[in-house]
């Protein structure tokens, strides 16, 4: 990946812009905060592998978010980092990794309490469910956190989790937009989520589609398949 910007079709860049803007409005309606890095969103599309691909990288810092399970004096901070790649000139989505770090904030200290990422690679990865969530103990690099305006003192866990290596949970297509969608549903309440869902409905068709033909074909096939085998359809386990 280089820093050289690549110009996406307006349909693609405006879909990302509109989605993130709708997210920002939902966040403001909920009276919480999202901090964007100073780089304009359109310049986050960069050259990747010559003129056959492009990359998108964006980090968001969700500041002082509510969490029902936390006592009143504690708040949640969430950092989301998206890394997506596209095929050119089709601008279909060929890879998406979205990292989330959840921090419990006490005063000026942020303790990492949950780390995970959602993954997808067109064509699939060996022994990985096609779309999956992986629970990890990996923090998003501190430089990325700071670049979003993350201004808290970091407290990382003393002991690594023991299950993160093998825990890959199959998911629907959780790309950057889907993750933001679920974050709104998880944290901002039904009313705001409903408005947000309505607002972004028209944007969906403009977002680049992930390439997952094998999975689609598998899902269309009959019930002789084992319940979850379609998650590994790219490995030709079912026909």
């Amino acid at each position: 990946m280089t820093d050289k910007p690549v110009t996406p079709p307006n349909k693609v860049s405006s879909a990302y812009e509109d989605f993130v803007e709708a997210f920002r409005l939902a966040v403001e309606d909920a009276n919480v905060e999202v901090v964007f890095p100073p780089r304009p969103l359109r310049s986050c599309f960069t050259e990747f592998g010559g003129n056959t691909a492009a990359a998108f990288e964006r980090c968001l810092y969700l500041k002082n978010w509510p969490c029902r399970k936390l006592p009143q004096n504690r708040r949640l901070a969430i950092v989301i980092k998206a890394l997506e790649t596209f095929e050119r000139p089709s601008w279909s989505l060929s890879k998406s990794s979205v990292y989330l770090n959840y921090f419990v904030v006490d005063g000026t200290t942020a303790e990492l309490v949950q780390s995970l990422h959602y993954d997808f690679v067109a064509g699939g990865q060996t022994d990985h469910p096609f779309f999956h969530l992986q629970l990890t103990n990996e923090p998003i690099p501190e430089l990325d956190l700071r670049n979003t305006g993350f201004d808290l003192q970091l407290k990382l866990p003393d002991q690594p989790s023991r299950c993160w290596v093998t825990t890959r949970i199959p998911t629907p297509d959780m790309t950057f937009a889907s993750v933001l969608y679920c974050v709104v549903a998880d944290h901002l309440g039904a009313g705001i989520f409903r408005q947000f869902a309505e607002k972004i409905d028209s944007i969906q068709d403009r977002l680049p589609s992930p390439g997952f033909e094998d999975l689609k074909n598998s899902l269309r096939q009959s019930s002789v398949h084992f319940k979850s085998s379609h998650w590994f359809a790219h490995m030709k386990l079912v026909h």
């Binding site: 110009t7 079709p9 307006n10 000139p89």
Partner: protein
């Protein structure tokens, strides 16, 4: 389709009035009408004459020969007015009357205070400030352009507001520009000018009044915001910078031809100061699977065309536009997201040296 326009001119110096009037008449042909304001022509009762200038002007401007004006053009300094009915008239009184009647107003200064007036021309909200520095012919050309733009908006509006799907001002403006799909982007140019809220909310007593108010509001919004701050639309320097093409090279006819399809032709489009739809420029570039405009013109025009250069550090490509110096600037050497920038103006920046110089006044 042309739109008949009527301009009312407020100018207190005889010679300048004659010069500006002549130029305006030339530039408003064949469908225009320019009427110099002469307060002395009106007979008012003593009680009427005791009222404030603003109220008196409002009444006079509602009557022939000034009624139905598309635009008022006024000298900034009317203090030398020898009109016995309006001694010491100020442009503020004219502007206040114009505001009440929803007539747009342009002002100019005959003896500009150079940078100061230039600056005000670019920053003053809800009041189009034109420069006199290029002479009365250019002033008149720009004023006629402004009048035609407002007239065009007024002509299209009844049909657009009749469509109930155009609920918000952003939707109305996007429809007016022929880009309904850009409504969300246009909404990001809401500048929060509280003086205009009444115009946004006003339904008017009748459709004609509503159209007049909306024309006033949308015209200023378009002129002052969308056409001023590069983002959804880009001027020549900003377009070249965004495309990563050297500003001079971008002027070349064979380069311009490539991007011609993206030219803005809506209200206030000025052939001498063209603007482009940024999204359409992007589509032209990505349609040929090029990373940027430079790659495209290298392939299609001339591989010797140079990249854009940041005005602070020419070793870097630009990409953005410094709204103060009006030069191309790089992301690294500029500040964006300044509180008074419209949110949609993501190509608008202030170069670091300018920001350091004017920072306290520019805000954060």
């Amino acid at each position: 389709m042309t739109n008949a326009i009527k301009i009312v001119l407020f100018e207190d110096t005889q010679q300048t009035r004659s010069d500006v009037l002549q130029s305006l008449t030339t530039h408003t042909r064949p469908d225009g009408n320019v009427v110099p304001f002469e307060g002395a022509r009106f007979t008012e009762s003593p009680s009427e004459r005791e009222r404030m200038y603003e109220a008196r002007l409002e009444q006079i401007l509602s009557k022939p020969p000034y009624d139905g004006a598309t635009l008022i053009v006024a000298d900034r300094d009317l203090s030398k007015s020898l009109d016995s009915n309006f001694v010491g008239l100020s442009v503020n009184a004219v502007a206040a009357a114009a505001q009440k009647l929803s007539i747009p107003i342009c002002s100019y200064a005959r003896q500009p205070e150079l940078d100061d007036y230039e600056w005000r021309g670019r920053w003053e909200e809800g009041h189009i400030v034109l420069s006199f520095s290029e002479g009365e012919a250019e002033l008149a050309r720009r004023a006629a352009l402004a009048a035609r733009g407002f007239a065009e908006i007024g002509r299209q509006l009844p049909q657009i507001i009749a469509d109930k799907s155009n609920k918000s001002p952003a939707r109305v403006l996007a429809a007016l520009l022929g880009k309904p799909e850009y409504a969300d982007k246009v909404a990001l140019y809401g500048v929060g000018d509280q003086n205009r809220i009444s115009e946004v909310l006003a339904k008017g007593k009748d459709t004609a009044q509503q159209v007049q108010r909306m024309t006033h509001f949308l015209g200023y919004w378009l002129w002052d915001s969308l056409l001023r701050y590069p983002g959804i639309l880009v001027n020549e320097v900003a377009a070249a910078s965004h495309l990563n093409i050297d500003t001079e090279a971008f002027h070349a006819a064979n380069v311009q031809t490539i991007f011609q399809e993206a030219l803005y032709h809506g209200p206030f489009a000025d052939p001498s100061r063209p603007q482009w739809w940024r999204g359409m420029l992007d589509d032209i570039v990505s349609g040929d699977n090029c990373a940027d405009g430079l790659e495209l013109v290298h392939a299609k025009v001339n591989s010797a065309i140079e990249r854009s250069k940041c005005c602070v550090d020419p070793s870097k490509s630009a990409g953005y536009y410094c709204i103060i110096s009006r030069k191309p600037v790089s992301l690294e050497n500029s500040k964006g997201g300044i509180s008074w920038f419209p949110r949609g103006a993501d190509l608008t920046r202030v170069s670091n040296p300018m920001f350091e110089e004017y920072g306290p006044w520019l805000g954060a």
